[in-house]
Amino acid sequence: MYHYTDFDDAFLSERNAQFRAQVERRIDGSLTEDEFKPLRLMNGLYLQLHAYMPDKWDKGYGHFTTRQNIQYNWPELRDVPDMLDALAEVNMHAIQTSGNTIRNVTADHFAGAAADEIADPRPVAELIRQWSTDHPEFQFLPRKFKVAVTGAEADRAVVKAHDIGLQIVKRDEEVGFKVIVGGGLGRTPMIGKVLYDFVSQEDLLPTLEAIVSVYNLLGRRDNKYKAHHRA
């Protein structure tokens, strides 16, 4: 499991302090709701938090989502900065859990233990998580954006139903990625299409950057229902 570095701790602490000040400014009226909304969304308010939290700040229960996040629906606005500080103490945050951002990266639930996988997808998921977190270019995409990685041929991570799906593959003896784009569920379900049969490991992040940049530039922003990558 990834442990926060000093840089991560300092970044999160600064970010939480900024959000605490933003909440205070919303409550005292110096920020309007329109100004505050993008700030609260990028900090995950629509919070997806930690197991002991509901007893202290919610009503004793949470809601597990399909993506196995947990959401708390009842926290009071004033309590949220304390909740984010408590999360940071256990190396967690709620950044990019909502808003039109690159969301947390998912993998196969048998990752690391599956007999049919070429490689463990979790380090790749963590790499992409680090690349995408607070990526300055991708904070206001046309719509939310999801990436999944599998290490196996059997698609247990449902990579074909993500904006970008990555399948770890081998070409000769080199390990790389099959890149699938444009999948998704929801209102307009669509199976992703293969963009590249093989991308080398060193080309992975530039490839992702290129795909998301094109989407950021050309994706629709006038109609929420046609704004997805697949549309």
Binding site: I27, G29, T32, E76, L77
Partner: protein
């Protein structure tokens, strides 16, 4: 001929607690039955402007259609029925009372 005006209430969410709230002649309530019913379009628009000006207390005020059971407003759209009853979970929130 003028289209008849569907009666409305003004609803929003409380800024601090997030609860669903309804405007009354004197402030805000968490019970839809106690909401002020607006039957005149111009008056409804005016009351909405007044509500939206209270951004230090509320978020996202809008007019919601209602039908009347006697004098009591009842939701028309299922979204408003959900909002009036709280989450679809009998053990918590407003539904504990049902």
């Amino acid at each position: 001929m003028l289209r008849p005006f569907t009666p409305k209430v003004i609803t929003a969410n409380a800024l601090l607690e997030g609860d669903v709230i309804y405007q009354t002649p004197f402030g805000w309530t968490r019970q839809m039955e106690e909401a002020e019913v607006l039957t005149d379009e111009a008056h409804a628009d005016l009351r909405l402007i007044e509500a939206q000006a209270q951004s230090g207390q509320i978020v996202g005020a809008y007019l919601a259609d209602v039908t009347l059971d006697g004098a009591t407003p009842m939701p028309v759209h299922f979204r408003e029925a959900f909002r009036a009853k709280g989450p679809s979970n009998y053990a918590h929130g407003k539904q504990e009372q049902f």
